[in-house]
């Protein structure tokens, strides 16, 4: 993307007034999207964002500047701005010798989306619209969105690292509105992978559309969710967000260091039921949160966070690893070249257990079965977290019965981890997600087998 000599001179400019560390992050991201709504392909859109972010670290202070101008003059000017921002004091010239160190990509991409005719992308939307509406006259509205992105990055730093990645992601989303005597209800389904257009060799858009439509239709007959504390069974693949919120964010080392995590000082301690082994794995081929290297140039890794209920490690970014002189975990990510990296999750999942999922449901006298969770939110300092029920049912006498309207569940992370009393043998990865932290969104994946939490507060209205 850039000439090695230009990168070297830019790093030298960043370090000219001192500085313990300097980094050049270059990104060239192309995206395309097509949207259908109200029975009509509304538009295709495409765009390109290209630029460099430069950071300089002096002591505890990070200076940062970014530029869309990738000429040597543009880069030098950003490097000087970052150095000035870091208030660097000393002087001197440091030469940086760069060594190219690439990491293997988790998977190859068969069909680059940019090579696919636009008409083929549009055709997917029409097929999805027809399939969703084919589920019945109660389906009143369908929105379908196709999106792809190719993000090429280069990372070089004053430690001599030079590496890069080429990340291709493809996504298809359908949301449907059904209307009946009880008003309107919505259904949603999304499929996304870190692959190219071959995604659609594996997933028929008709199937995605029908799932969305059926969810909306099912909810027309839904009753209000209960209000109060109940056992909650979460279905395979549907509920990784539970762990993302209950403990994932709290295991990010930047929050831990600031005392903003209930998991501070708990490494080596039993923090969860012995049934819980939680992994964050950026190498997981094709999953939404995978990559070859993170946005600081560290190769992606599989990191065990909790093993048999014992907290084994946090997730780390490079600066904190440097400071503590420990091995890197590959969790330094950023939304774009306009952002500083921070500690982020990749694909976070609970390993499968021994229980038969049917037994888990049958062993629940009165509770809630959540087939699919929506998003969530956590306060890492208190551990309190919420997550939404996108598709949920009542469990009565060990049977899944009536569908429930939407609502949030609320719980406390450390307590919920200890309250996990059954883990099924039917592990599945879930839907692609976008994780937000401090104003930055990054793609993440999650997964769980069927599991039961002894007690969660269900935020419905029914007594």
């Amino acid at each position: 993307m850039l000439d090695d000599a230009v990168i070297q001179r830019t790093l030298a400019a960043a370090l000219r007034t001192g500085g313990d560390f300097a980094e050049v992050f270059v990104e060239d991201k192309r995206s395309s999207a097509a949207m259908l709504d109200d029975g009509r392909v509304e538009e295709l859109s495409s765009g390109r964002d290209r630029g460099a972010g430069i950071r300089v670290v002096v002591g505890e202070t990070t200076g940062f500047a970014h530029t869309a101008d990738l000429s040597e003059a543009g880069l030098r000017s950003a490097a000087e701005a970052a150095a000035a921002a870091a208030r660097s004091g000393g002087g001197g010239v440091r030469e940086v010798a760069l060594t190219r160190r690439d990491a293997p990509r988790p998977n190859e991409v068969a069909v680059l989306p940019e090579s696919v005719p636009k008409g083929d992308k549009v055709e997917l939307l029409r097929r999805a619209d027809e399939a969703a509406r084919g589920e019945g006259g109660a389906i009143r509205q369908v929105r379908a969105r196709y999106g792809d992105s190719r993000r090429q990055i280069l990372v070089a730093n004053s430690e001599g690292l030079l590496t890069g990645d080429d990340q291709v992601r493809t996504l298809f989303v359908v949301s449907a509105v059904a209307s009946g005597d009880t008003g309107m209800q919505t259904g949603y389904e999304t499929v996304g992978r870190t692959v190219g257009f071959e995604l659609f060799d594996r997933y028929e858009v008709e199937g995605i559309a029908r799932t969305a439509a059926r969810r909306a239709l099912t909810k027309l007959a839904a009753r209000p969710a209960p209000s109060g504390t109940l056992p909650v069974v979460i279905g395979p693949g549907g509920g990784g967000v539970l762990f993302h919120e209950a403990c994932g964010h709290g295991l990010e080392k930047d929050l831990v260091d600031k005392g903003a995590s209930v998991f501070r000082g708990k490494v080596g301690q039993q923090v969860a039921s012995p049934l819980v082994t939680l992994v964050d794995d950026g190498t997981m081929a094709e999953e939404w949160g995978c990559y070859a290297v993170d946005d600081e140039g560290t190769p992606a890794q599989r990191n065990v966070l909790i093993e048999d209920g014992v907290l084994s490690d946090y997730m780390w970014d490079m600066l904190r690893c440097r400071k503590e002189g420990r091995a890197r975990s590959g969790n330094g990510r950023r939304q774009s070249y306009q952002h500083l990296p921070m500690v982020r999750m990749t694909n976070t999942y609970l390993l499968g257990g021994q229980d038969d999922p049917a037994d888990i449901v049958a062993g629940t006298d009165h509770g809630v079965y959540v087939a699919s969770l929506g998003g969530g939110q956590v306060n890492t300092a208190t551990g309190d977290f919420v997550f939404g029920m996108r598709e949920a049912y009542l469990i009565e006498d060990g049977q899944i019965t009536e569908p429930l309207r939407e609502g949030n569940l609320i719980g406390n992370g450390p307590k919920v981890l200890l309250d996990i009393e059954a883990v099924g043998n039917d592990f599945a990865m879930g839907s692609p997600g976008t994780c937000g932290k401090d104003g930055q969104g990054v793609p993440v994946g999650d997964g769980v087998p069927t599991l039961r939490v002894k007690a969660l507060t269900v935020g419905g209205t029914a007594a």
Binding site: E43, L44, G47, G51, Q338, T382, D384
Partner: protein
């Protein structure tokens, strides 16, 4: 400023016969300072820019963007938008805005002096906020983040149909997220201050809020489930109003996704509820002389005395429904096409002070924070359920703190159950204003 219009003019000049073309050009200069334990942790300074190009030909729309003003990239972007337009399906209502004779109001949103404030002064303010928050109460044990940020944002919209509008605004803010501890119990709070310039920032108020909100939650417990009256803090009300405003977009009406579609003239809320969108009010954070399609901003009544009164329109929704745009085109930046939405919506304030409203509640909860609005609120069905924390109200007095519960109802019922509206209208850093709002008969789920 003028150079953005020049850039947009240059792009519009690339339109071909038979094409409508809209160029949206934006630039901002931002400074962000984060301090931690008396030191600068991060300092970022940056210029960002970009262009979004919309082309409509024969009713087909295409869009493309690029994050640079490089002339070659702009020409490529126009070509790409043109190519994309061939794949849209024809829509007689498609098209860019056409001048409607409404004159954009002159609003005082730009403080040139912000550009001359030394970085050291900004750093000093952030450090002062951190120090003041810590000093506000001995139980404040840490500051999770303490930031100063400012922005000078400019944009221009020019079209082949004669739209030509440039807008600009400055903003500065201070925000601290605090940690309070007592034994094993940790709670969090936040405080902020914002303004168009650095002089408007109130460090003491932000520090006091950040400390109070965290400290008063110490010892919080989970309440039992019940149906209760809740009193929403202005911060929470603004978030609720923002969600209601989203359902009043004519785009949702056209597409059959609005709770309020076809209900004009009907009683949809308590008679105490009057809701108005007014981006010409310079106090609002979303104030602007014009909208994202370059039409003048204007005041739009949405709900009057509980009766559904209007919707916010952009050019497309107005054509679809045979009316005029209300100057309510919104876009998320240069990377997106204009939708229809609110930027500065507020409830008409009542006459009672917040403290008097609390005093009138026998058994209830003051809600100071909600979570999971994106996951537990469905604006199409109206189902509403969020995580919450706050203080018990007992016999008109604020009592013990409560956490780990949800409040649930439906948007329709919440609006009908509004029992009192406070006088404390406060503009917040979002598209809606807040005030204290009392809502009866809400489901509280806890232990």
């Amino acid at each position: 400023m003028t150079d953005l219009v020049d850039i947009a003019d240059g792009i519009v000049g690339l339109a071909r016969d038979g094409e409508e073309l809209e160029a949206y050009v934006a630039r901002s200069t931002d400074t962000e300072v984060r301090v931690y334990e008396g030191e600068v942790e991060q300092l970022a300074v940056a210029d960002s820019q970009g262009v979004g190009v919309r082309i409509v030909r024969d009713g087909r729309q295409g869009f493309a963007y690029c994050g640079t003003f490089d002339p070659d990239a702009l020409a490529e972007t126009v070509a790409e938008a043109r190519d994309n337009a061939a794949f849209g399906e024809p829509d007689p209502a498609a098209g860019v805005a056409v001048p409607d004779g409404v004159v954009p109001p002159a609003l005082d949103l730009w403080r040139p002096a912000l550009a001359d404030v030394p970085t050291a002064d900004k750093v000093a303010l952030a450090l002062e906020l951190e120090r003041a928050t810590r000093a506000a109460d001995p139980r404040i044990t840490g500051i999770e983040s303490c930031d100063y940020a400012d922005s000078r944002g400019e944009s221009a919209v020019v079209t082949t149909t004669g739209i030509r509008l440039a807008t600009r605004a400055t903003g500065a803010e201070l925000v601290a997220y605090s940690l309070a501890a007592d034994g094993d119990d940790t709670q969090t709070g936040f405080g902020f201050s914002l303004g168009r310039d650095i002089e408007s920032l109130d460090v003491a108020a932000a520090a006091r809020d950040a400390a109070d909100r965290a400290v008063r939650m110490l010892g919080a417990t989970q309440p039992p489930s019940a149906r209760l009256t809740v009193v929403l803090d202005p911060w929470v009300t603004a978030q609720l109003v923002g969600i209601v405003a989203g359902t009043l977009s004519a785009e949702e009406v056209v597409k059959g996704r609005s709770l309020f579609g076809g209900r004009e003239g009907e009683q949809v809320a308590s008679p105490l509820v009057t809701l108005v969108e007014d981006p010409t009010d310079a106090r609002s954070w979303g104030a602007s002389p014009g909208d994202a399609e370059g039409l003048a901003s204007r005041r739009v009544p949405l709900i009057a005395g509980g009766v559904q009164d209007g919707f916010v329109h952009n050019t497309w929704t107005a054509r679809r429904l045979g009316t005029q745009s209300t100057g309510s085109a919104v876009r998320g930046g240069f990377k997106s096409t204009p939708g229809a939405g609110c930027r500065a919506v507020s409830l008409a304030p009542g006459t009672a002070a917040a403290a008097d409203l609390v005093a009138g509640v026998e058994d209830g909860i003051l809600i100071q924070e909600v979570s999971g609005l994106h996951s537990g609120v469905n604006p199409v069905s109206g189902d509403f359920s969020t995580g919450a924390e706050g203080l018990r109200i007992r016999n008109g007095e604020l009592a013990e703190p409560l956490r780990e519960f949800t409040i649930a109802s439906t948007l329709q019922r919440l609006l009908s159950d509004v029992a009192a509206v406070g006088s404390d209208l406060t503009w917040l850093p979002m598209s809606a204003a807040g005030l204290t709002l009392v809502i009866a008969d809400v489901s509280v789920s806890g232990s």
